[in-house]
Symmetry: D2
Subunit: 355 residues, 4 copies
C-alpha cells in the first residue's frame, strides 16, 4: 500500500516526486486562529534547501512555498492547509541510466518489485526531495506547540563524532554541518570534501532534543511517544536506526546505573538524570526529550557496483547524478520537522482525552 | 490519548491490567478460512510465560488463552477474534508502597501526570503483562503469513554479547536466555544470577530475523516497513532503541562499504550483502529482514532510589515486588510477535493495493 | 474487510457471535476519572434485553455485563475498558436448516460470497445480538457527555405512525414499544401480535433527539455530524435509511419554507425553526439534534421463501428460530447508544482541535 | 476536528476554499499501472461545472484539472496522485455582507461557533465548490473498478417526481436536470425557472445505481456498504437523508412484502426482487446497488430572513451572490463520485482480506 498521511489529530499528507512539476503537503486538523504565512515556513525550508554549500547536492531549488488553503486574514481557519513547492531544477537526463539498472541500496528494485513499474527520475517518490514537504508541514506544527523548542544537530559523520565537552549550541548554525563542535566541524570539512571529490558518501548520526514538552503528553500503548517518534524518524529516507535517551547504551547498564531519580522541584519533580530521554511508559515526564537517529551513507556513489537490470541481466552502475555526499547533514531540519509534527499531534491528542 | 489498537488491515486491540481479572486482544481483519485453535496460540504464550526459570519473575501465571469469537468449525470466519487470558497469581499487597511513591523509570509519575490517577497495582496498564496479549495476537499473525519465519534471540545481556562465530540456531531453545551461543549462555547464568540475588537488573539486546518475506511488501512513505517495525518494537515495555540492518553501524560507513550489490539469481536477484536489513525505500527486497532492539534494565531494583510521592514529598523507594532481573529475556517472544503482526498487516496491504 | 472498530478518539471495538460463548466491546480513548461501574451500564442493556415482552424474541438472555479492565477504584483510568457479556440461552439446533439454505434478506449468502464460509448459528456475527455490545459501550459514552440527553422512540410500526399531537415523553417507557403516543401503543399491540402469531414481521421508524449538544461539535468535511450519525445508524442491523432533521421532506420544500431563522437569544442565538436537525455544515448549531432511522422488517418469517442452498440448488426456507416480530422496537436503545457514541467522540475531537 | 480524508485503503484528501487560489484532492492508495491522464478526469468535472445552463449558478469556472504527481508515462505509479483545480471566477465582493450577518441554514454560524472565526468568502471551506475535488478523485476511483458502472439522476425537484414508467436512461444526459423522464424535465424547466427568477430555491432527490459490483464487497460491521455509502453521501453539502434500496418505504412493509427471494441463476443466484438495494448484512449481494439521497433547498434566497450578526445583534439577510436555484441538480456527478470512491475502497479492502 501507499500511506502518505502521518498523524492522528494533527495530520499531514505529502505528495510529489523528485522530477514532477511540484510537491506538497496538506495539513489537516490544525487548530484555528494561529497566525500563519509563508514567512513562517520559508526559513525552515531554506535550512534544508539543496545547493547551499559544496557539501550538499548541487541541485538548485529555491523551494519557495505557497499556502493554497486553510488560512484567512493571516490566521489558520481550522480547515486543511495546502502547501505547495514547485520543482525548478530537474535534470532528468542525469538519471537516464537509472532506468536501465537498479541502484543497489536505493528503492529502485523494491519499487519495481512492488508496483511492477516506477518513476525512475531522481528516485521519483522515494527521493529525499519529498522531505521538503515534511519540513513545510513541520513549520506549521511548531506554531501549534510554541512552548516547545525542537533542536537537532549532527553528532557524527562517517564515524567521526563530536566531543560532548565541546558542545556549543551557538555553533550549530555557524557551519554547513549543523555541528555544535567547532573542532569537529573543521575535521568534517576535510572528511566530506574527500568523500565528495571521490564520489563517495558518508553516514551520519543526528541528535535531537525537544524542550518544553509538558509531562503527560503521549498515548499508551501503540502511540507511545517512543513509538511515534521512532515511526516518524524511520520514515525519513536513509534512516536505519533510532534511540530514545540512552538507547542501546542503556541495554549495557544495570538498573542502578540507568535510574532517573527524582526529588521535589519548584514545579513538579526535579530529575537527577535523563537516561530515558524524557519518556516513561510512552508518556513525557517533563524532562527534555532526547533521541538519536542513524542515517546510512547514500547509495549514490561513483564507484561502479554490481547490480541487475529490470529484465534481470547482470549490470554495473555508478551514480553520476547530483547528490549529497552526506544526506545526514540535510537530515537535521527533517528530523526536527518530524519531531515537531509528532509533538503537535500528541498535544492535541492529550487535550482531546484529558482536557 | 490512549491508542490500544495496532495495524491497518490486520489490526489488534489489547486490553487489561497487571492485576485485573484478565487481559486480552481482539484481532480484526484476519482472513477467513485459516485453521485456528487455542493449541496454535498456547505454545507462544508458554514461551514468554513468567516463572519458568529462576531468571524470570516468580509470578506464576498459566497464561491459558481462550478464543471467544471469530472461529467456527476450527477455522477463522473473517470476523473479530477475541482472545482472553485470565490473571491468576496477582499479589496486590506486594505493590502497596508503589501507591505512596513513584518508581523512577517506571510509568508511575507519567501516568499520574497524564491521567491524574493510576492503577498502581503491578504497574496497571503499563505492566509488561500486557505483552501476553500481543503474543497471543502474534500467534494468529504467524498463521496469516505461513511462508514467513520470524525468529528472535538475545544478543547481549548487560553489555556481554554473544560471539557471532558461535551462533547456533539450535541453541536458542536450549537455554533459559534464548541465547544462540552456548558459551555466552553459561556466562549469562552467572551474570543474571548475580543481578537477581542483589536485586539489581540488566539491560539486553534482542536480535530478530524474518525470512520468507517476498520483495514488495511495505508501504511508502509513512508506513515503510522500517517505520512499522520501529513503531511496533518501540511500543514494547522497556524498549529504547531499534536498528534495521546495520543501523547505527551503517552511519559510520562509506557508501562503498554499505552497498548491497545484486547479481542475477535463480528467482529474482541474488544479493551480495544485507546492510539494509532486507528493506530498501521502506519496501522488502526479498532478503531476510534483520533488526535489533534495545531493552533497558527494569527500573524495579532493591537499591533504594530517591523519588517523590504523589503529593510531592521527597521519598525513597526500593522495589520488592516479584520482577524480572532482565526483562529483555522475555522480550524475545514479544519482539517476534510484533514483527509477525507487522508482516501480516503488510501482506494484506500489499495484496489490497497491488494484489 | 472486517472493521469492527468505530470512532476516532473515543473508539469502541466489538466482538462476538450470536452463539459463541460471549460477546463484548473494548472502549478506548475514554477520558480518565469518570465514575463507572456495571451498575451504570446494566440498565441500558436491560432496556434492549430480549424476552422482556411477548413482542420481542423469546430468547432469554440476562445480558449481564462485566467490566474487565480500565476501571480502578470505581473510576476510569484512561486505558481501554473491556466489557463482556456472556451468552447463556443459545439453541443452535433451531438454526440447523440455516446451514442448508440461505435466508433471503439475511447476511447468509453475502457472508458466504465474501468469506467462502460462515458461522450460521443464529446469524453468527451478523446477528442483532452484537448490538448488546454497542449498548454497553454507549452507556460509557453517555458518561463522557453528561450534558447531553439522548432519547429515542418508535415513531411508526408497519406504516402505522404516531400522531405528533399525542406525543408524550412520559409514555415512552410505559409500553413495550417505546411509543410516545398511548393510542398508537394500543394499536401496535394488535398489529405486532398479529404479525407474531402469523410468523410475519414488521418494519419500523425510530426517531431520536439529542439535547444539550453545544454549538461547534462536528468535524468537517468527512466526519460531519450528519455523516458520522448516518454511518453509525446504518451500521445497525436492518437499518436501511436515515434522515437528519426534515430529511427527505426537506427535498420537497422551497428555501423559504426550509429556513431556520435566528434571532438574538439569552446565550447564543434563538432559532425559530429546526429543519436542519440541529446541524449546519456538519457542525452542531446548539439546537436539538434530530434524526429518524428506518428499520426494515426482519427477514425471519414463517412463510416459506424461494432461495438456494450453499451448493446452488433451489430450495425454500421458513425461519422457525426465535426472533423479533419487529426488530425496530429493540432498535431504540441501540440507536440511542450509537448517537451517544458519536457525540462522545465529537466532544473529544472538538476539545482536541479547538480546546 | 477537521477530517478531510475519506477512505480506508483507497483514500482521498481534499483541500481548498470557494475563494482561495485553488482547490484539490490527493488520492492515496491507488493501484499502480492504471492508465490515467487529465482527459480521464475532465469530462466528469465538466458534468458538474457551474455556469453550464441558466438552471445553475452563473459563476463561470473552467474547472481545469492538473495532475501534479503519482502518474508516470501515462500510468499510475501507486504513489499519491495530486489533483489541482484553480479558482478563476471569484467575486468576493458579492459576499461582503455575509461577513456582517450569518446566513441561516448555511454553515456560517456553526463555523464561527466551532473555530471562533471563518473564511466568509463564498462560504469558504463549506462551499459546494469543494465537491469539484471529489468529482476529480471519483474519476480516478472509476478507473480502479472498471467493471462497475455508477449512474445517478434526479428523481424529484421541489416535490415533483418523475414517473417511473417514463424512465429512460438515454434521457438523463439530454436535459440540464439529469432527468430520465422527458416530461418531468419539461415541467422542471418551468419550476426551476420560477425559483431562479424569484430568487427562491428548491430541494431535490437524487437516485443512484451501481451495477457490476460483485457479491462479497463490503466490510462488516462498522464499514458496512450501507454505512460507507451513507457516510459518503451525507458528507455532501445540503444532503439531509439517504436510503439504501427501499429505505423508509421498507419500514412500512411486512417481511413477506420485503423479501428478496433467490433462485438458481446462470452464475450465482438470480434474485426475484431487490428491496435491500443490493446489500445484505453490509455486504454486496451482486445485485445492483441502489440508493436515494435527499438534497435540501439551498439556504441562499433573496427573501430576507431573520438572523443575527457575529456580535449577536438582530439582523436580516438576503443572499444576492450567484448560486444554484437547485443544488441537487449538480449533486448528480457528486453522488456518483462518492459512490465510486466507496466502491473502489471496498474493492481493495475485499482483495486485501479475502484475496
Amino acid at each position: 500500500m501507499s500511506f502518505n498521511t502521518f498523524g492522528r489529530l494533527f495530520r499531514f499528507t505529502t505528495w510529489g516526486e523528485s522530477h514532477g512539476p511540484a510537491l506538497g503537503a496538506v495539513v489537516d486538523g490544525c487548530p484555528p486562529g494561529i497566525a500563519l504565512s509563508e514567512a513562517d515556513i520559508q526559513p525552515w525550508l531554506d535550512k534544508r534547501r539543496p545547493g547551499t554549500s559544496r557539501f550538499t547536492t548541487q541541485r538548485r531549488e529555491p523551494d519557495t512555498v505557497r499556502i493554497l488553503s486553510g488560512v484567512f486574514d493571516g490566521r489558520t481557519t481550522g480547515t486543511p492547509i495546502s502547501l505547495m513547492i514547485e520543482n525548478v531544477d530537474q535534470r532528468s537526463k542525469d538519471y537516464s541510466d537509472v532506468a536501465k539498472a537498479y541502484r543497489p541500496g536505493h528503492a529502485d528494485y523494491a519499487y519495481d518489485a512492488k508496483y511492477g513499474f516506477r518513476d525512475f527520475r531522481g528516485g521519483g517518490r522515494s527521493s529525499a526531495r519529498e522531505t521538503a514537504a515534511r519540513v513545510a508541514a513541520g513549520a506549521v506544527a511548531r506554531l501549534v506547540v510554541p512552548q516547545v523548542r525542537v533542536r537537532a544537530w549532527v553528532e557524527a559523520i562517517g564515524g567521526d563524532a563530536i566531543d560532548p565537552a565541546n558542545f556549543d549550541d551557538a555553533q550549530i548554525d555557524q557551519n554547513p554541518f549543523f555541528c555544535p563542535d567547532a573542532e569537529a566541524a573543521l575535521r568534517w570539512e576535510t572528511l566530506v570534501d574527500a568523500a565528495r571529490k571521490s564520489g563517495s558518501s558518508l553516514g551520519a548520526v543526528i541528535a535531537c532534543e525537544a524542550t518544553g514538552v509538558p509531562a503527560g503528553w503521549g498515548a499508551p500503548l501503540y502511540a507511545k511517544l517512543d513509538s511515534e517518534l521512532a515511526s516518524a524518524c524511520m520514515s525519513i529516507n536513509a534512516v536505519k536506526g533510532i534511540e530514545i535517551g540512552d538507547g542501546f547504551a542503556a541495554a549495557a547498564l544495570s538498573g542502578e546505573a540507568n535510574a532517573d531519580p527524582m526529588r521535589p522541584g519548584v514545579d513538579g519533580p526535579e530529575f537527577l538524570a535523563n537516561h530515558a530521554g524524557g519518556i516513561a511508559g510512552g508518556i513525557a515526564t517533563g524532562q527534555p526529550i532526547r533521541l538519536r537517529v542513524a542515517f546510512k551513507p547514500t547509495s549514490s556513489i561513483l564507484t561502479p557496483v554490481e547490480t541487475i537490470s529490470p529484465t534481470g541481466e547482470a549490470a554495473t552502475i555508478a551514480t553520476k547524478g547530483r547528490h549529497d555526499p552526506c544526506v545526514g547533514i540535510r537530515g537535521v531540519p527533517v528530523v526536527e520537522a518530524m519531531v515537531a509534527l509528532v509533538l503537535a499531534d500528541q498535544a492535541l491528542l492529550h487535550r482531546g482525552q484529558c482536557g
